[in-house]
Amino acid sequence: MAPPEGADAPAAPKADPKPSDPPSESIVASRTNKQPPAETLESLWVRRWVILSFWAVVACLGLPMWWKTTAIYRADLPLQDMTDWADGKICRPVFPLRIAVEASPQVQDAHRLIRTTQHALDDLNEFSAHHLRLILADLPLPANASQQAIIDGTSSTGDDQDIALSVRLIPVETGETPRSHLQPYAPTLDVYYSPNQIPSASSTASPLATFVAHELHKIFADEQARLSYLLSASSSGHATKWKALSAETAAELQRQSTRVLKYAPTYHLTFSLFTPTSVPSAWDIEPALRQYLTPLLESFATISNFTIDTQVQLYATFSPSIRQPEYDEDLKAWTLRKEDLSGFINAAEWPLSPSIGEGPTVNFALYVPEQSQSPLLVKENGASSWLVPQWGGVAILNPTSSAAIPKALAKEALVPAMQTFSNQLISLLGLPQTPASLPLRLSTLTRVRAASLIFSASSTLGALAQVYQKMPSIPVPDSVAKSVDLTLGHLQQACDHFRDGRFQGALEHARIAEAQAEKAFFERSMVGQVYFPDEHKVAVYLPLLGPVAVPLVMAALKEIKSGIATLRRR
C-alpha cells in the first residue's frame, strides 16, 4: 500500500497545473480555488485502512489484554452444595448405636427377649436421631465363663469398635433381681436376673425386658440430651427438638457449652507455678504429671492429642486493680472475693501465653501464697480452686502445716492440685459426668465432637459461599475449590460413617473436613482491596488512555462523517 501512495504524492502537483495552460487563467484559478487537490480514492482508502487497523489493534489486542489482566480469577465453587450443607439439608446426623446382648445359653428365647426389649426401648425413646439397636452377640459365653467374666471385666468382646455397649445377662440365685451394674472401665452392663424372669413364650412383656430397656435408656439419656441440644443449637431446622429437653438440662448444657474448649486435634497444656516470693522455686511436676495426668490424657488419645509444658514464675504479684486478700476471722484464713477472681490472673505481667505450636493453650496455674497470707481461700465457699471457662484452671496450694514453705514442692504435695487440674481438664474437654463407665463417656464425647465438627465445617462452607456471592471482587484461587471439594467429600463420608454407626471413623473424617474448610475460608490470597470509588478509576484510566483515545476517536468520527457525506452525495 505504501509505495503507490509515495509515488502518487509527487505526481499530484504535476498533474494539477496541466489543464490550465495560460498563466493568467492559472492565477485566477488559484485565487478562486484555494482548496487542496482532491484526494484520490486510493489515498482515501489507505487512510481508512490505517484508522481501521488501529481500531483493530485496540479491539482485538488491547481490550482482551486489559480484560485479561484486570479480571479477578474466581474458581468455580459448588455453591449450591455448600449452602445445602450449611442449611443441614444434606446430612442430618443419626446416631444408631449397636448394643450387643450376651445371653447365656439357658436363655432359650434370646431373640424374643431382645425383640421385646427393643420394643420397650423404642417406646421410651423420644429423640429419633439417636437410636439404640440391640443385637445378639455372636459368641455366647460358655455357661461357667459368666462368673469368671465378672472378675476380669475386660475380657468381653470389646474388640469390635462398632459395639457401643455390651449387655451381659447373668442368671443369679441370690440377691435382688433384676439388678444391674455398669462396669466403670469397660463398655459393659451386667444385668443380674433370676431365671424365672425370662419372658415365657406366651407373654409379650416381661419384667426383665422392661428393666433392661429402662437401664439402657437411663445410661444414654445424658448423651441424648447433649446431642439434641447440639442439633437444636446448630440449625434452626431442629428447633423443635429443644422442647424435649427440660429447662434445667438445657440451662446446664448451655453452661457447659460456654465452658468447654472448642475442639482441636491438639491441645497445648501449660502448667505454671506462681509464687509471690522466692519459694518454692522448684516442683516435681514431671513425675506428678506422669503419674496423675498421663493416664487421663492417654484415654483421650482417640479424640485429641496433648502437648505439655511447665514453668515456674517467682515474685508474681497480683494485678493492682483487684482488691488485695482480706483476713477473715471466722474462717481463720485470708480470703478473696468471688468477683475478684476473674482478675486474679495478672494477665499483664504473668507470662501465660507461650504462643507455642498450633493448637489452643489450656492454662493451669498453681498459686502458692506467701507465708503471711496463707491459707488463702475464696470468701464465698472456702474453695481454693476455680475454673475459667475456655481458658483453664487455677488452684491455690495452701501449705498443710505451719512450717515454712519448702524450696521445692515434692510430688506428694502436688497431689491435691493435680486432682483439681485433672477434674478441671475433664470439664474443659467436655467429658460428660454420667454414666459411670469411662469408655462410654469417651464414646459419647467422640459422637458429640464428631457431630459438632460436621456442623462447624458445614457452617464454614456456608460462610464461604456467602462471601463468594456477596463479594464479587475477591479473587478465589483453585486451591480453595480443591479444599472445598475435599471438605464436601469428607463430610459425606463422615455422614455415611455416622449412619453406619462407625463413630471413630466419622470423627476422623469430620476432623479432616473441618481442617480443609478452615483452610478454604482462610485462604491467604482471598484478600482484595475490594472497594475503589469511581473517581479513583477515572483518575487511574484517564491519564493513561486519554491521549491515545482522543485522536483515535476523533479520526474515526471524522472518517465516518465524510463517509456518510459521500454516500449522501451519491
Binding site: 475386660t154 470389646g158 466403670p184 472401665y185 437444636s232 443449637a233 440449625s235 428447633a239 422442647k243 438445657a250 440451662a251 448451655q254 460456654t258 496423675y292 493416664p295 487421663l296 492417654e298 484415654s299 486493680s321 483487684i322 477472681l341 482478675g343 494477665a347 499483664a348 505481667e349 501465660l352 501465653s353 475464696v378 464465698e380 465457699n381 474453695a383 480452686s385 476455680w386 475454673l387 475459667v388 471457662p389 475456655q390 491435691p416 486432682q419 483439681t420 477434674n423 478441671q424 469411662l438 456456608g462 460462610a463 456467602q466 462471601v467 463479594m471 467429600g489 463420608q493 476422623e508 479432616i512 482462610f522 485462604e523 491467604r524 484478600v527 482491596q529 475490594v530 472497594y531 470509588p533
Partner: protein, 391 residues
C-alpha cells in the same frame, strides 16, 4: 436458635454475663510523623486502659505506625504523654506493639480482621476470636468522608471496613463488637456497616472536623484528641475497677458536644435488641475482660479413690494396647480389614503430598533447563565475540 434466645434471658438470669467468654481489642493508629503525636497517644491511652481493665496483652492487637518515644524531636525521649501535666508515661515499661511502622497497612489490617494470614504468623499478631468473643475496635488517624488514611499512603474505605466485618460475622468471629473511631467525619466510617451486633460510635459527623484537646508546649505538639480525651476521662474516673457495673449508655451520655467541639454519633440499629439492648451492655463487656469463673465445689473427692481410678484407667489403656498389639500380630486378616477400611481416609493427604512433590520436581527440572540454556547462550556469545575479535 430463636427459641433458645427467647428462653435464655428467662432461664439463665444469673448466667447472663457468660454470653461471651473472651475479650479482644484491636487498637489502630494510622498516621505517621511527629506532628501526629496525638494519634499515637490516643491509641496508647486506650491500650493502657483496656490493659488496666484486664484484657491480656495476648488479646490486644496494637498497631502503631510510628515510634514517637524514639523520635529525635521528642524532648522527653522514651516517653509518650497524653497530657500536658506529663503525670503518666504511656510508653511505660511493658507495652507490646504487634504491628509497627510500615506493617500498619490497610491490607494487614483487613488480613488481621479476617485472619487471612500466613501460616508462620505468630499467634500474638493474630485475632483468634470465635463466636463468643467481644471485640473492641478503636481507630484513629486522619480521615474524611467514608475513608481513613493509613500512613498518608493509602486509605481504607467504609465499604472495605464493612466487608471485613461482614466476613467476620459470616465466619462467626465475634459475638458483639464495639467500633470506635476518632477522626474527621468519623461517623461516615460506620455508615456502611451491615453485619449484626456491631455497636459503632464516632467522634464527628459528616463535614465536621475532630479536634485535638490541648498541646504540650514542651513536647511542642498536641497530645490528645478531644473525643478520646473525654472517653478516657469517663473510663479512668468512673470505671475504677473490673467489677464496675456502668453501661455503654452511661458512656454515651457522658459525651458533651460543647466540650468535644463536634457531634459524636452512635449507631445502634445493627445491635440485636436495638438501642435499649446496646445501651444496657456493660462498659466492661468491651473494655475489660470479665470472665465468669466457676468455683470448684467445697467438697473434694476422695483422694485414694481418685488414685485408684487413675490406676484403673491405666490398666484399661494397657489392656487396650495389649489387645491392639495382639490383634495386629495374631490376626493378620483383621489387620488387613482394618487397613482396608481406613484407606479412604489417608488417601487425600497422600495425593496432596504427591501433588506438592510433583510440582517441586517439575519446576526444579524446568529451572535446570533454563539455567543450562542461559549458560550455553552466554558461552556462545563469548565464543562469537572472541571469534569476531580475532577475525
Amino acid at each position: 436458635m430463636k427459641f433458645s434466645s427467647a428462653l435464655l434471658p428467662l432461664l439463665l438470669a444469673p448466667l447472663g454475663a457468660c454470653e461471651h467468654t473472651s475479650n479482644w481489642a484491636v487498637l489502630v493508629g494510622t498516621s505517621r510523623f511527629w506532628f501526629n503525636y496525638r494519634h499515637l497517644a490516643n491509641v496508647l491511652s486506650l491500650y493502657r486502659t483496656v490493659k488496666r481493665l484486664g484484657i491480656p496483652d495476648s488479646q490486644i492487637i496494637l498497631m502503631l505506625p510510628d515510634d514517637m518515644a524514639c523520635n529525635p524531636r521528642n524532648a522527653f525521649p522514651g516517653t509518650v504523654y497524653n497530657n500536658a501535666d506529663r503525670a503518666l508515661d504511656l510508653y511505660g515499661d511493658n507495652i507490646e506493639v504487634d504491628y509497627r511502622g510500615y506493617e500498619v497497612t490497610v491490607e494487614n489490617f483487613i488480613r488481621l480482621m479476617t485472619d487471612r494470614v500466613a501460616e508462620d504468623m505468630p499467634r500474638s499478631k493474630r485475632l483468634m476470636t470465635d463466636e463468643r468473643s467481644n471485640i473492641l475496635v478503636y481507630m484513629t488517624g486522619h480521615g474524611g468522608n467514608e475513608f481513613l488514611k493509613f500512613q498518608d499512603a493509602e486509605e481504607i474505605s467504609a465499604y472495605d471496613l464493612a466487608d471485613a466485618f461482614g466476613q467476620m460475622w459470616e465466619k462467626k468471629r465475634y459475638h458483639e463488637m464495639l467500633f470506635m473511631i476518632d477522626t474527621c467525619q468519623a461517623n461516615t466510617m460506620y455508615s456502611k456497616f451491615y453485619s449484626p451486633n456491631i455497636l459503632a460510635t464516632g467522634s464527628s459527623e459528616i463535614d465536621q472536623s475532630s479536634y485535638s484537646h490541648h498541646a504540650d508546649n514542651d513536647v511542642g505538639v498536641a497530645v490528645i484528641d478531644r473525643y478520646t480525651y473525654y472517653n478516657l476521662e469517663f473510663l479512668e474516673t468512673q470505671v475504677r475497677d473490673p467489677t464496675s457495673k456502668l453501661t455503654m449508655g452511661d458512656l454515651f451520655d457522658s459525651y458533651d458536644e460543647a466540650k468535644i467541639h463536634s457531634h459524636p454519633g452512635v449507631r445502634y440499629d445493627l445491635f440485636e435488641g436495638g438501642e435499649a439492648a446496646a445501651r444496657s451492655r456493660l462498659v466492661m463487656d468491651f473494655f475489660g475482660n470479665v470472665q465468669n469463673v466457676e468455683l470448684d465445689g467445697g467438697e473434694s473427692r476422695n483422694e485414694t479413690q481418685w488414685q485408684e481410678e487413675l490406676a484403673a484407667i491405666e490398666r484399661m489403656i494397657d489392656e487396650a494396647k495389649r489387645r491392639h498389639n495382639e490383634s495386629l500380630s495374631v490376626r493378620p486378616l483383621a489387620e488387613h480389614l482394618v487397613e482396608e477400611a481406613e484407606q479412604p481416609q489417608p488417601q487425600p493427604q497422600q495425593s496432596l503430598k504427591a501433588g506438592a512433590v510433583r510440582v517441586d520436581e517439575e519446576s526444579g527440572w524446568q529451572k535446570q533447563v533454563v539455567g543450562a540454556a542461559a549458560l550455553l547462550g552466554c558461552a556462545g556469545l563469548w565464543a562469537v565475540g572472541s571469534w569476531l575479535e580475532s577475525a
